[in-house]
């Protein structure tokens, strides 16, 4: 019976923004993929996003130019958005819509999977606990990244988030080197210059053989961006949980993704939430970001590093805000540090890694790591406070202790955060921190136990 059902319709009722309303539908399912065939034979992809009676609302990936109620035929494909997967996918490059872009032809599937993903049963999640060394002191020391974590970079226009991501792609190391490692990259609305930059990174670092790239460029269809990260994460999950690899997924730039989400939402005449973004943006984010982690009994892991641009450097902007509520911390870039020529310009105060505690300490990094970083945080925060005070009353009016905090924070930025293109192993990062702490009066080091102080504090100068 089913074969006789009409699966192609020439009944477009309306076209509005990226949305097409088709009437007279007898059988269609939510999320089903469709092909729109234009009069000139051109094809566009679309997806059913709402069904009502015999009407189906379709969001079109690509331009709606030349789509016409009179002549365009809509084919319902009886499948959800999916991707062919096989180990041979490593080293390949795709468009943001999942089409091979490297001339290598289609992937012969070992499995084919829907890209929407399912929630991991919380009891099957394994606790992330393997330290990843990025070679960046302000991350390794202060906001440690662990396997299976999702740690975004909050950037601002013109700040070097891509350079930091590139540094991490090139230098990230884990303690056990024998594990297979892969990188999945989803570019959303990025410029061709940025795309080129990342391609170079993959080539130079030798990562290209174990990377999979999805690129939706700034001039590619906007709505396609909604699919790009889902393709990438489906590949990441396949590599991690079917093939046992440790995958770093870099998603750049989430801000462009959100704008696509907003565009579709406003075309649907939905009631907008904050700044015009839809009320379900949190849930939508969760369906992406939560696709990171580890599963009990399986070898691999998916670590996510989304990059987003905070409009006007505003961390309370809904994109940054909702991201921060789902991800396990954030690395925040700072314009003032960038202007001072500090690289990477990471402001450690609002930065955070929630899973840090699981990845550090004896046997992982070093026993003193937690106390050491708490102390650095305290000294830097106090120093920054003194910098504000000094701006009002002048440095000479500060007390001795206050001045030592002020000097600490200056040195901390210059020698600890700032590392240009140097890659610092963990021991080097710890050493640099202790060096700075040794400049402080010892009674101020209250976040570190005496035992650790006597073991690790360098005593170059006269003791107390």
């Amino acid at each position: 019976m089913k074969d006789l059902l009409v699966r192609a319709y020439r009944t477009i009722e309306s076209v509005r923004g990226p949305l097409v309303l088709v009437r007279g539908i007898r059988e269609a399912s939510l999320g089903e993929m469709v092909t729109l065939e234009l009069e000139n034979g051109q094809k566009r992809a679309g997806q059913v996003i709402e069904l009502h009676g015999t009407y189906a609302t379709i969001q079109v990936f690509g331009s709606t130019e030349k789509i016409s109620p009179a002549s365009t035929v809509v084919h319902f494909r009886e499948e959800e958005a999916s991707i062919n997967l096989s180990p041979l996918i490593l080293g390949r490059a795709f468009s943001g819509g999942g089409e091979p872009m490297d001339g290598g032809g289609p992937i012969a599937p070992v499995v084919k999977r829907g890209i929407s993903g399912a929630a991991i049963n919380p009891i099957r999640r394994d606790v992330p606990r393997d330290f990843i060394q990025t070679g960046i002191s302000s991350i390794d020391g202060m906001n440690t990244l662990v396997r299976g974590q999702k740690l975004p970079i909050f950037s601002g226009a013109g700040l070097p988030a891509n350079e930091i991501a590139s540094h991490i792609i090139s230098h990230a190391k884990v303690l056990r080197e024998d594990d297979a490692f892969a990188i999945v990259f989803a570019g959303m609305g990025i410029t061709s210059v940025e795309a080129e930059f990342f391609n170079k990174t993959f080539e130079m670092s030798g990562a290209i053989g174990h990377s999979v790239v999805f690129m939706n460029l700034a001039d590619d269809p906007v709505v396609e961006r909604l699919l790009t990260p889902r393709f990438a994460l489906t590949v990441a999950e396949y590599l991690a949980f079917d093939l046992g690899m440790h995958v770093l997924a870099v998603l750049s730039d989430m801000t462009h993704y959100c704008n696509a989400l907003r565009e579709v939402s406003s075309s649907r005449e939905e009631i907008p939430g904050r700044r015009g973004y839809p009320g379900y943006m949190y849930t939508d984010f969760a369906s992406l970001y939560e696709r990171a982690g580890r599963i009990k009994g399986l070898k691999g892991s998916v670590t996510q590093m989304p990059i987003l641009t905070m409009p006007d450097d505003d961390i309370t902007h809904p994109i940054a805000d909702l991201t921060g509520y789902i991800t396990e911390g954030q690395i925040v870039l700072d314009r003032a540090l960038h202007r001072k020529g500090i690289f990477p310009p990471i402001n450690v105060l609002p930065s955070l890694s929630r899973l840090m505690g699981l990845g550090i300490g004896e046997g992982k990094t070093r026993e003193d790591h937690r106390q050491w970083s708490d102390q650095l945080y305290m000294c830097y925060a106090r120093g920054m406070e003194q910098r504000r005070v000094a701006a009002i009353i002048g440095e000479e009016s500060l007390g001795d202790t206050e001045r030592s905090y002020l000097r600490f924070s200056d040195e901390f930025e210059k020698t600890f955060i700032n590392q240009r293109n140097e890659t610092r192993p963990m021991e080097e990062t710890l050493r640099a921190g202790w060096e700075l702490l040794s400049s402080m009066p010892e009674q101020e080091l209250i976040r570190i136990s005496r035992e650790m102080i006597s073991k690790y504090l360098p005593r170059g100068k006269e003791g107390k």
Partner: protein
Amino acid sequence: MTNTPRISGISGPTITAELMRGCFMHEVVRVGWEKLLGEIIRIDGDLAVIQVYEETLGLKIGDPVERTGELLSVELGPGLLGGIFDGIQRPLPSLYERWGDYISKGAIVPRLDKIRKWRFTPVAKAGDRVEGGTVLGTVEETPAITHRIMVPPCVSGTIAAINSGEFTIAEPVAELDDGTRITMRQRWNIREPRPTAERLGFNVPMLTGQRILDTLFPVAEGGSAIIPGGFGTGKTVLEQTIAKFAAASVIIYIGCGERGNEMSDVLHQFPLLSDPYTGRPLMERTILIANTSNMPVAAREASIYTGMAMAEYYRDMGLRVALMADSTSRWAEALREISSRLEEMPGEEGYPTYLASRLAAFYERAGRFRCLGRKEEVGAITVIGAISPPGGDFSEPVTQASMRTASTFWALDYDLAYQRHFPAINWRTSYSLVAPNLSRWFAENAATDWGAMVEEANAILQREEELADIAKVVGIDAMGEKERVEMELARLIREGYLRQSSTHPTDAFCSQVRQTKLLAMFLDYARTVSSAVHKGCPLETVLRAPMVEALLRAREMPEDGLDAELQSLREEVRAYFGKGWA
């Protein structure tokens, strides 16, 4: 086929069904061939709008909808404790056994173990007159908790027969003279509060073992507290810490729309934790509800009610229950999402206009009550709700609506969190409206002059705030010596008393006795120093006092020998300041 209810519209997690004549509001339905769980939230002629508790991708127009004639309910009985459920009470371990590592659709699994037998020991006997709440017998649910099998509310009569022995939850343990059979299992509509005999006032604190909370902003047993804080200010850690250490018999922890990895950390940690009061595994008296942010939105909305109904059930046994909800903002967002799918007119920031009344109704389910059918017994539910205000801005609707109903307000602060001062509770903006009701308890159980001690500590902190403003303008060096001493004393209280490490073995939990000792020590020190300064002791002497470091580390001293340590510290202080200024 043509006259049976079927799907006529699909929009995200809400669907419309036609031919639904005869259905009622909040009726549970099964949607599509996979029998997804749904609940009717609007009726229009023979059309019903249904919110679906599972992923709706793949549903089709014309798919069948099946009515159940029931309300969305929880199953209550032995076997809840130690359980890990999703937002609609499906045990996550059973979902795993049935479907593997990922949550699949339409998974119908028993909510409580139907095969396991429990030893039922009757306490009532044939011929007894019973009503809703009467205890029929007991079951050792876990070594920590004796589960009392009660007559369900709205049932009464005379016991015709009562059994003793091993039963499953579905087998009757008693029969009334009208033929009503009573099993160890009850079903209860999650959105309806379970009845009690009488609401009582607040006069006992629910101690949390956290100094800043118990000392400055105590929450009453049966009260409610909210923890608003931007991301990274430590809400979740604080909720988890309270769950570990709260002085309550049963802990219900609801991870409502939170992170999967954090939830897995809870699921991993809790079974390893031992009860600070009894030393038994904490899970023996804990129920976890995990509905992470990527699990269906509607189930997130239901999760806090599922947890609350369970809490009320244990309260009815005469137990003290602490319910943690992390985070109520995620619940409110689920409400907003569903409301917007219904095309309801939005109120503030897109939230439905009934947000405040729903929140109030939820928090009102907290309280101390006389138990139904057993007026001599008291049970309590204390609710601790985390709030995630966008941008850390407390003027948003969820925080504001919660503030109107919750009696205790623990405000988390970015500046403190940036300095890694945890718990990052801002002592200037937080408050506890029930503190006056609890003063008698503290006077009797902590110290006779506890109220005065707290006031003294507050005054020191308050003074620092005034002085800090001046210091910002004129510089610390330009401040008078007396003022600088006052600031130093406040610093000691902040660093040595209000700060508390959630990971340090001794510091993580601070008993009331220990709090009294530590606070007394700091106040003693403050008095000694103030009087020495009054008599001319110079500032340098105060700032360089060698025992300051020991004072700041006192919170980490092991319980054994604490008294002796504090005593010797006290003598050291006296000796140091005794040189001419005592």
